[in-house]
Amino acid sequence: MLPTITVDVGTTSVKLCLFDARGTLLASARHSTPTVMDAWGEIYDIAALTGGLSDFIRGLDAADRTSVERIAITGVGESGGLVRPDLSLASPMILWHDHRGASYLESLSADDRALLYRVTGLPTNANYGLSKTAWALENAEGSTEGAVWLNISEYLAALMTGQRWSEYSLASRTMALDLESATWSPEVAALVGLDVSIYPELRPATAGSGIAAAFANEVGLSGSVVVHVAGHDHMVGGVGAGLQPGELLNSTGTTEGLLFAQTAPSLDEHAARSKLANGISNTGADFTLFASIPTGGSAFATLQSMLGLTPEALSACISDLSVRYAAGQIDPREAPLVLPQFRGSPPPTKRASARGIISGIRSDTSVEDIVFGTFLGMTLQFRDVLELFPQTPQSIKVIGPASKNPLWLSLKADLLGTPLSVSRFPEVVSRGAQLLASGQAPDSDAAREWQACGPEDVPVDAGRNATLAEWYDDIRSKWEYFKGAPA
């Protein structure tokens, strides 16, 4: 591999790493993802974002910095804004979960929506870039002559190189890309009154552009550095984890992602009804099938906020619960039943307006009961979403913050009845970005890549598996009722 600076723009934080040629993490930093408010909601604070990035690079050890050969940028899909040829913004840089363009989709007929899924492999949703692009054009300030739609990662790459392009995995999250031909779809763009010229040139993650001299000088990098857009963070995580067909990547962050690598898209009626999201892999050669659960790691913040716990107190609570759970001292029937839709519902409904329910609260229900119930509910929600996929995973690879949560992991293994393989390396996404920027094919030596993440097995406990199965039989009808409750 090549010495690489990786940039991972997440929902709540921006992770910056420096890896050497052996993949050793030499330096890292993490900042809150900077945002500001405009009249419609939250948008990226570009100055703060680029400032933090430049500061990180300038602050690196001089020898390490001059050794850098690649910059690889990954991050959330579905974000973006209109960028003029001079790289100025013609619109705000919009967050992934922003729905300001939703009205452009409201008038679409059932046939239009079926067409959208058939062509792009995506369920109609205002998260995706298509409606945001239409909104951005209509609400642009100043000229839009020559402007193109770029994802936040792509925009950062443009600022570093002077070049505007779109990477395949991110492009496949715009709902404007023809999945099978891997080209922008005029037919789909026309549904919201767009011309495909609003979308830029497409490239695989392995194809970068040379760094602009001005940026290289500003941050003290070599002029020979090549900048890559590594792609959608969950997919890049799949590369870092050496994900192979038949394996499930459980990517945990603010949200929780379920990702399968595929050799062909799944566009059948079941996949459409389940609102599973097809995508193109980072190399542009393969496909992915993905579902996102809105409430993942964000449940930590939600619980902290409501219960008034410090991060340390919540971690201690989880550790204690984990020990008690492993010792068979927790009866799940005593815990509240939690439908953890604190940020909307996952597939197959994907309702942004859906909200969480905590039921079964008794007079003696404790903070610990609610924490346990929340993670149990998240695990059950995960299983529901997994069952939407057309395949049963041969193995499950877990990456991200959940790897530090023994309770969540044990509950997941026990409820699914499937052992987990959990990365102990914290920055698998960044590692995947380095691999892609180094030109290494994702499947070059997948097993070796996963071993490099220091995986640890989480086995299934037969007794607890049986207990959870009994518990599920008891609560099943209520759980299904809750999921169907009006938002």
Partner: protein
């Protein structure tokens, strides 16, 4: 100074206050706890009464005494006066199946027509069926059934285990009206209903009038002088109603362990919608009443989960806006009787990462609790009872958040009487009756809260959450079908 004593044998404690007959001012008091279980040996109530009397300094200088108590809860006695079984409290949910059976056997409306009560698992009649079902031997040995205040009054008269004298058991209209084998129309027991439920007859306490005397205290009772008159006594809410000077047009919202809304009417009501229990009061009128199992203890849970005090819970709630940004609590933590959900538990709805904050949760606890209470006020109005002011009492009544939020949920003036033990006060007034032949006129100091703009979203969210769980379907549309 002539002194009278009022005793309140409630769900959780026994309280005794000794008061000045002339003014009603409390001279001294004592308390003793009851066990937390919901099925207990009735002897614990007698022991607690004696302990509370001792802690009140004894009653040697007292001229009369009277007892009020938790409604419904039965004591099963054999001919010798021995309890034949432990007693299920009114809030023990184990009698749900018996409530269902009795409703199925005679029809829900028949109970309402005959007794004014939509039969609940709390009513005495369901408890006697429960005994017959779970302990038929004890039922067979039962010769008399009394409720707590009847039995304590009888004990004060010197009767007890082994003494016999079950024919000397007395009660009052308010207690009889909570049995579901008494008619508010006729003022008589409906003995056929008792026998239907129990499978046999039994001695029932004589129902005394409001100004009668139950008897005189017996000898040899520690701390209690022999030969002083014992007032007729009453159920706890009826006692509080006397003490508050409840008049027609007044409603009371009592936020204690359970939540209770009641008012005073000249005639009984029959609520075929199933919310309102048509009890009698302690003055000769009626006391239509609606109750929830969960009320002030909801605040215990809220404070425990938030790791704060009750005052902090109130402060937090007042930091949030009306509706708590959508966060909504259905506080059925111990199951519920209004609506009829004995096996359900509490639930929190519409939680999101944005609204799931400590202030919103605190506010949701208080709004959910009060929404359950004001729904009962609506039920009274549907029976043609339209209160023109609301008296807020109970342990949680002094909470600033409770007061402020309640004024956003009702469109009538809210009066907060100064804190007092109103049940023991009412009992003491009944004791006074035995000396003077009439109820004393004791002052009640109170504050009227400022009216506030209505916040209908609070109730709307509560109803929406109930609908989401299918709870709204449990209750037919409210309508008054008074067949009296």
């Amino acid at each position: 100074m002539t002194l009278v004593a009022g005793i309140d044998s409630s769900t959780q404690t026994c309280k005794v206050t000794v008061r000045d007959l002339a003014t009603g001012a409390t001279v001294r008091e004592g308390k003793a706890s009851h066990p937390p279980e919901t099925i207990v040996d009735p002897e614990v109530w007698w022991t607690a009464l004696l302990t509370a009397v001792r802690r009140a300094g004894g009653l040697d200088d007292v001229a009369a005494v009277s007892v009020s108590g938790q409604q419904h809860t039965p004591i099963f006695l054999d001919a010798a006066g021995n309890a034949v079984a432990d007693s299920p409290l009114w809030n023990d949910t184990g009698s749900h199946a018996q409530m269902v059976d009795l409703n199925n056997e005679l029809g829900r409306d028949e109970w309402i027509r005959r007794t004014g009560l939509p039969l609940t698992l709390s009513d005495t009649v369901t408890k006697i069926r429960w005994l017959r079902d779970v302990n038929p031997d004890a039922a067979a040995r039962t010769e008399a059934v009394a409720v707590v205040h009847d039995w304590l009054t009888w004990r004060l008269m010197g009767y007890g285990p082994g003494t016999g004298g079950i024919d000397r058991l007395t009660t009052d209209r308010s207690e009889a009206s909570g049995t579901a084998y008494w008619s508010g129309e006729t003022g008589e027991y409906t003995l056929d209903l008792f026998e239907h439920a129990f499978g046999k007859s039994a001695v029932l306490p004589t129902v005394l009038g409001p100004l009668e005397t139950a008897g005189l205290t017996g000898s040899g009772i520690p701390g209690i002088p022999a030969g002083i008159p014992i007032g007729v006594g009453s159920g706890d809410n009826a006692a509080a109603a006397i003490a508050l000077g409840l008049a027609e047009g007044d409603a009371v919202l009592s936020l204690g362990t359970s939540g209770v809304v009641y008012t005073r009417t000249a005639k009984p009501v029959h609520d075929y919608a199933g919310y309102v229990c048509s009890y009698a009061d302690a003055t000769g009128d009626h006391l239509p009443l609606v109750a929830t199992l969960n009320a002030a203890r909801n605040f215990d849970l809220g404070a425990a989960l938030l790791g704060c005090t009750y005052d902090e819970l109130s402060d937090l709630a007042l930091q949030a806006s009306a509706g708590a940004e959508g966060l909504t609590l259905l506080p059925y933590f111990e199951g519920e009787r209004t609506p009829d959900l004995p096996h359900e538990r509490g639930s929190l709805h519409n939680a999101s990462r944005v609204n799931f904050t400590r202030p919103n949760f605190a506010r949701a606890v208080i709004e959910g609790t009060l929404a359950s209470q004001t729904a009962m006020l609506d039920a009274l109005q549907e029976c043609g009872v339209n209160p023109s002011r609301l008296l807020l009492i109970g342990g949680a009544a002094q909470s600033p958040a409770v007061q402020q939020i309640l004024t956003q949920m009702v469109d009538i003036p809210v009066i907060v009487p100064a804190f007092d033990e109103y049940v023991t006060k009412g009992a003491a007034m009944q004791a006074a009756v035995t000396l003077t032949g009439e109820f004393p006129t004791w002052a009640v100091s109170a504050v009227e809260l400022d009216m506030a703009p209505m916040e209908p979203r609070i109730t709307e969210q509560h109803e929406s959450a109930k609908a989401a769980l299918g709870y709204s379907e449990l209750v037919p549309s409210l309508q008054l079908t008074d067949q009296s």
